[in-house]
Structures are given as structure tokens and as C-alpha cells.
Point group: C2
Chain length 469, copies 2
């Protein structure tokens, strides 16, 4: 059965190249259930690799041939082999988090072969603290980062005793609860903003015209008609061509610490996250003697409620727009940076709320498909980068989650660096902690892991400045 | 710098598909030097991944574009990143040979991406007996199995104290000994039989005409004009379309045991190897209720000395021809099978020695490029497989070898199953042991590892029959 690939997914496939793989990843850390033996990872792998049936999303692969008139289509994989997609791996000694991040960097550097369904999952043992990790990798043509998180969340439970949760890629049985979970997961998959907006506004026919709408919005931003798309960003070491090698670093900090800073300064947790990134980027660029005089600009996807955005969305919840945030990396004082970020974010959101659905649609496209955007900007003769770095903050579950009895103790997103945008910072909250996932081109962003130390320093500096410590 | 790809290499690239990756592999087992610490594998990895310079063979990748008029060419990889090619891996618990073979099966199933140089090496720790393994993978367009073995051997030494041996992919420094080693390695690389024969006989211009010569020889074989190409083979479960998943199994046995059988029965060690394979295949096919009435035919590459083959070869040594050997799997008695194999092998070699260089050239092509052959045979309207299984026996070093102090204790080849030829058996001798490497399509050859038990049983049965035990 041959199915057409929708234009958004196709764009992610066409944009893919050796230096720019288009998959998102997730790293989850689990504590074994009590009484689990040394072969627990093997059991977890066995359970994950033996679903009764695989969901269609995970069985299709892209295909292009003379028979399809050169168009990309989805075809089912006739030789589907779960052992290719679900794997059991181990860390070399000494099994620190460092070895885990090395393995994830390596796995995230490898393109998914189009000749098979575009996903992989690795159950990883060998952490010296006994935890078990899972790294998953899914092509952006199948899911975006938020949907991938939701899909994973749909197989977690707050009940540590439950043991019958399916693998994320399993076709779900029709029990009432599982069915609802399933439907929720499917609707979140359908909720990739562009698709959702397209169906909501009947814009499908306009899909081919999207790029021009997008560029129009950005060009307007250049002329400063809206501060949400203030595209005046300095050149930095992050805004260069990239290679296909990735470095991934991750760590989490208690949300309580960020909340305390926010409360003391009248800013949001998200403002504090951005201020941490700002301070860390500043310190990193100073280390490399590469801090520009002008402050860096971050592209920050933000949630808009349905009414505000005038957008119908599957769970009555949020649609996504983007704000260009002045990171104020040129300021020396952490408190002053936080104030500037708070103001820039507030202005941007206000501008966004006054935008038309088409503008929001275009902004969403920036968030979802920067790789598609970049070549277009070049065509428009823009020489400066529209922004310097993408910083996303994806909300995750607030309560402790379990996967068949294994307690989820950490979850970190791996994202997509693109040409001209060598560093991506994606955060996700879970169970009182904010997990930062930093994904960069290894060559363009050397010693990426040092940003973790800078983030930690900056959090402490903000606490001091806010009198929250 | 763009270099044309010679037709043989190009044929291996064109023949490659998802179900038919065209790389050869090698698995080496090392014992740590005395006093080596727990992080020895990491040190080995560090040494392997930091050569001062990489040999050009390992820096080029295939490329095809409008600029090359659609032709495949070699281009240097501008973004070469050794960390993509040399990797440090670990085995899940309990770290038995079984987990090692599982990992090798998985690694061998993955195609090498053309966008990078066509090789990988994995330093593998986590074997519970403390040994360290190395799995290497090289595209057949770069080297054939024999050359790959020689390349590896060129960085080994009989001196356990030596520590300055380079990685196989390092550009060698110009010390006299290293230079000789290097030249020997390069000449063996150049010695891919077809290329060697082409240059020796000035056949380069005829290269495009090779297939027709090849088919002519085979067609003659069909009419029984030479017993070296007796193509009457039964259909078996091995002679079907394959998938891209591989299973690898390996084990070694003392050559002394095979020699004793040979001496007692007037056969060669190679005859005994073939008899072991014959008995094992028979037992395996009986297990699957799939033993054909007619005996299986094996395609066996054989060495011919230069004079006999009338072929100049780089080291004055051997060129390679192929003999179709009747495996006599229809006979119940191990001793009778050995006698039949010995006779078939002898007849085939005699026939081969009477062949013209062009015929030998064609036969070599069968050995080196069965994947190219198969579609041609189909075009010729042949419905039966020309043979059932490929069994190669590649001589390796006879004395104990060391890699920077680590003792090589086992070496096993991984080869290329192709459509219609789902099982490949390649043996390699080393330090008094014969290592059997069985590479098969996992779906077409289920429970491949059971062949190891059958091989062991057959060796014992042959010893009993020969009175050698």
C-alpha cells in the first residue's frame, strides 16, 4: 500500500543530508524495580522487541521511484525486522554518565537509512550506578520532538505496580484505557502544528504556497514591523556550516530553584531557563574569545492557548508559535540579563498574540522546520543569521512515572542542529526537575559539555542575584 | 581530487542493496598483555583512533553526480571524522561469546553509508573472560576478504614486546620494515584477482566485455565441457532471496585434528574442512526436513601457483580460481563423503589447470563477484542455482601474533551472503587453529549457530571413520 507523504514530512526528508540528519532523539534513565536481577536490561529489551503487532507509523518507509513519478511516498517495509530497530547495547567501563553521553552522541550522529522504517530504540545497560537507559531516535518526518515525548509518555504510568504497558511502537490492544491512551497519542501525532493548522483552516491546498507566506513574515520582521520576528542577530561561531558529527550533553536541575528565582524577580521559570542559557552561552563564547558585541538572539517556540491563537487543536490545548528573544549576552550582570530576557519574551508574546493565524502558521514553520527556512533565507539574500540558537522548553509529566515497574528518573531530548545553527538547546521538565539536552555539531561547537558547568554556575549566580539563595 | 572507480569496485557498489550489503568483516579476539588494567580496551581504542595520518584507501568515498556525468567516482571525504569509523563498544551481560556474535551479527547487518569512507572498526570490551575483540568492516569495493586479512596481518607482529605497530588504516611511517610491510599490504590490495589479471594481461580495455566471457565459461560448464564448472546443483533452502539481516557464528578447531584425518585417508586439510561443512550442512538440512536427494555443490575458491595459472601476481604467489565441489550430502557415511569430496576437488583442480587464462579469469570473477554473476545467470535463463554454497579457506599467519602486546587468540571472517546464496562459510587458519566463520541471512538460514554443533560432531565422526581417534 502506497501512501503520499505530506509536504511537511517530505520537506524534512528532502532537507536531510549527511551533515544534517533530521531525526529527534530522547534519552530516558530508569531505576530498576526492586528485586530486579542483573539481567533486567535484557528483560526490558526482550519485552520491547516482542510487541504482538507494530503500529503502522513504525512500519512505513519513504520510497521514490519511477513508479511513483519521482515523488516520495510511504510504503510498508516488506522485510520489517524488529531486531534492526530495537537494540540491546552496553556501555564501556567505567560506565559513567560520560560514557552514556558518548554513546548517545554516536547513535545520534548516524542517519536513519531510508530503506527501513525511520526509527530506532536502544536499551542500554552498563551504567555503574545500575540504572538502565533508553535512547530512542525517530525521524522528524514521522514525529516532532513534542509528539515523540507524548508518545513515550503514553506508555508510562504513575502506577509502579503496572506491568502491562506496551512498547511505544506497539499497536495497542483495544482495552478502554489503552484505547484512550492510544487515541491521545495518535491525536498528538496528528498535532504537528503545521498539519493541525492546515486541517483547521483548510489550508491544505495552500501548502505549496507556505514558503512564500513564511518569507513574507520574516521579511516584515526584518523591517521591524513586529518584534516577534526581530531578526537582527550577530554572527557567532554557532552560525556556520556544520558536519554530520554530533555531541550531546545533558543534565538536570530542580525546578524549585528556578521557581524561587522567578518569584523573587517577577519572571517565569521559562525566563530563568533562558537566562541560564544566556549566561552559559556568554561564558562559553568568552572561553573561545568569540563573544560578539551585540547580544545573541534565541528562537524560542512558545505555547499559545487555543483562544489566543484562534487555532483549534486536538486536545483543546496549545498551538505553538515562536518568539525571537534577545538573550542580552552582551550584559555582564546576570540579574540585568534576566530582566532583559523577561522583557523581550513578554514583548514577543504580545506581538505574537496580535498576529494573524497565517503569521503564526509561518512562525510555527520556523520552529518546526528551520532547515527548510535556512536555504530560503539565503535565497532572500539575507547574510546575517535570523537568530543564533534555538532554545525549546517542552513540558513533560509532573509526577513520577514508571515503565513496567522501572522508575523514570530522568528524561532528556536530543534535537537537530542544522547548517547555520550548530547548537540546539531543548529542555524538558519532569517530576520536579528541568532536564537540559544540548545537541551540537561536534566540530563547530567544541567541548560542548562545558556548557553544562556554565549552566550550573549561572543558576547559582542567578540565585545570588535574586537573593533566592 | 576525483578518481575513477575501477569496474570491479564499481560492480560491487552497484550490486549493493539493502538486502545485499557488500562488505566483508573480520572478528579478532585478543588477550590483554600481562599487567594490563581494566581500561585496556579503552587504551586500545584510543591508540586505534589516533593515527597521525590515515591511508588514502580509508579516506575516499564513492560519489555520483551530474558533475561526474552519472559515473561513480572516488572523492576524498572532506569531513572525515575518525570517531565515526573507529568505535568503542561493550557487550551486554553476561558477556559470553554469544553476546559477541550477536553484536557482530548486528554490526554486519548494517550497510556502510556511501557518504563516508566505506569502513568501520569496533573495539569491543565486556567479554567475561577478559578478552578484547575487534570487529572490522570494509566494503568489498575497497578490499576483498583475502586482502583485508593481509592488511590486518600487516600490523601484527610475532614480537610480544613491540608496541609501535600502527592501526591498519594509518598511513605508515617510512621506517624500512614498516615500508616493506606497507608495500606488501598495498600490493596485496592491488592483488584483487580481477584487477591483477587485468593489468597482467592488458585486459583493461576488455573489462566491459568480461561478463560475456564469464557467461560463456559457465554455459560451457552447463554442457559439462569442464568439471570445474559443473553447475548441476539442487535447489535448497539456501538458494532463495534474502533479507538484509545477518546472523554470524564462529568457532575454531585444532588443525592437528584435521591433519590427522587427512593423513589417515590421503586427503588434504582443505578436503577435511569441506567434509566437515558437508556433514554439518547435511545434518542441518535433515533438521529442517529439507535435504535434497542430490548432493549439494559448493563453490570453492582455490589457490593456483603462478606458473600453473600462467598468471603474474604481485608477490609471485597465488592467483585464485574456483572449483565446483560435489559435497556428497546425499551420502550417509562420513568417510564416503570425504572420499567423494577429495575426488571432486582433485578433478576440479585438474580441469582448472587446463583452463586458459580467460577461463580462469572468468572463474575468479565467480569467486570474487557472485552477486554480479547471479543476475546474469538469470538472464541466461538458468533456473537452477549454479552452486548451493560458497566455502572459502583463507590461509592466515601460522605463528602467534601480537598487536601492540595483545596476543591474537582467534580470527574469524564475516562474508557476504547474496540473493540466491544465503549462506557463506569462510575459514581461516591461524596459529594451529582453523577458524570457521558462518555468515547467513537470518531469515533464510534460521538457527545458523546450530551449524557449529554439527561441525563439531562431524569432525569427531570423521576422526572415528578415519581411525584417527
Amino acid at each position: 500500500m502506497v501512501n503520499p507523504i505530506d509536504p511537511t514530512s517530505a520537506a524534512f526528508l528532502y532537507a536531510e543530508s549527511r551533515t544534517q540528519p533530521m531525526h529527534v532523539g530522547g534519552l530516558q534513565l530508569f531505576e530498576k524495580p526492586e528485586g530486579a536481577g542483573r539481567d533486567y536490561a535484557r528483560q526490558m529489551y526482550a519485552a520491547m522487541s516482542a510487541p504482538e503487532e507494530i503500529a503502522p507509523l513504525f512500519l512505513k518507509r519513504p520510497h521514490r521511484s519511477i513508479g511513483t513519478a519521482g515523488q516520495l511516498v510511504w510504503v510498508p517495509d516488506e522485510h520489517f525486522d524488529i531486531e534492526h530497530h530495537v537494540r540491546h547495547s552496553a556501555l564501556p567501563r567505567p560506565g559513567r554518565v560520560r560514557e552514556l553521553l558518548d554513546l548517545c552522541s554516536r547513535l545520534h550522529s548516524q542517519r536513519l537509512a531510508w530503506e527501513r522504517p525511520l526509527w530506532e530504540a536502544h536499551i542500554i545497560e552498563g551504567l555503574r550506578d545500575g540504572r538502565v537507559a533508553m535512547y530512542t531516535k525517530t525521524h522528524h518526518a514521522l514525529v516532532d520532538g513534542v509528539s515523540a515525548m507524548r508518545l513515550l509518555a503514553s506508555v508510562l504510568t504513575t502506577d509502579p505496580e503496572r506491568r502491562d504497558m506496551p512498547a511505544p511502537w506497539a499497536a495497542r490492544p483495544a482495552s478502554a484505557k489503552a484505547q484512550r491512551t492510544r487515541e491521545a497519542a495518535e491525536s498528538s501525532l496528528a498535532q504537528v502544528p503545521m498539519s493541525a493548522l492546515r486541517s483547521a483552516y483548510g489550508l491544505t491546498a495552500e501548502a505549496a504556497g507556505l514558503p512564500s507566506a513564511l518569507v513574507k513574515t520574516i521579511t516584515r520582521g526584518l523591517r521591524n514591523e513586529t518584534s516577534a520576528v526581530s531578526l537582527y542577530a550577530p554572527r557567532t561561531m554557532f552560525n556556520q556550516s556544520i558536519t554530520g558529527s554530533r555531541r550531546f550533553a545533558a543534565q538536570d536541575w530542580p525546578i524549585e530553584r528556578m521557581r524561587a528565582i522567578g518569584q523573587a524577580t517577577g519572571s517565569t521559570i521559562n525566563d530563568v531557563v533562558l537566562a541560564m542559557c544566556s549566561g552559559a552561552l556568554r561564558a562559553y563564547l568568552i572561553d573561545h574569545d568569540a563573544l560578539p558585541d551585540t547580544g545573541l538572539v534565541a528562537m524560542v517556540p512558545v505555547g499559545l492557548n487555543a483562544k489566543q491563537a484562534q487555532v483549534a487543536s486536538a486536545d483543546g490545548g496549545n498551538a505553538v508559535g515562536s518568539v525571537m528573544v534577545q538573550l542580552a549576552t552582551d550584559l555582564d550582570d546576570p540579574a540585568a540579563r534576566l530582566v532583559a530576557i523577561h522583557r523581550s519574551m513578554r514583548d514577543g508574546k504580545q506581538a505574537l498574540s496580535s498576529m494573524t493565524p497565517t503569521q503564526i502558521l509561518a512562525m510555527s514553520a520556523i520552529g518546526m522546520a528551520p532547515s527548510i527556512l535556512t536555504p530560503m533565507l539565503r535565497m532572500q539574500g539575507l547574510v546575517r543569521p535570523p537568530f543564533n540558537v534555538i532554545i525549546s522548553n517542552v513540558p513533560g509529566p509532573r509526577s513520577t512515572q514508571y515503565l513496567n515497574g522501572a522508575k523514570l528518573v530522568g528524561t532528556y531530548p536530543l534535537s537537530i542542529p542544522i547548517n547555520g545553527m550548530a547548537l540546539n538547546i531543548t529542555c524538558t521538565s519532569y517530576d520536579g526537575k528541568m532536564g537540559f539536552g544540548l545537541t551540537g555539531c561536534r566540530r563547530t561547537v567544541p567541548h560542548l559539555q562545558r556548557l553544562l558547568g556554565h549552566l550550573d554556575n549561572e543558576l547559582t549566580a542567578l540565585e545570588r542575584a535574586a537573593g533566592a539563595r
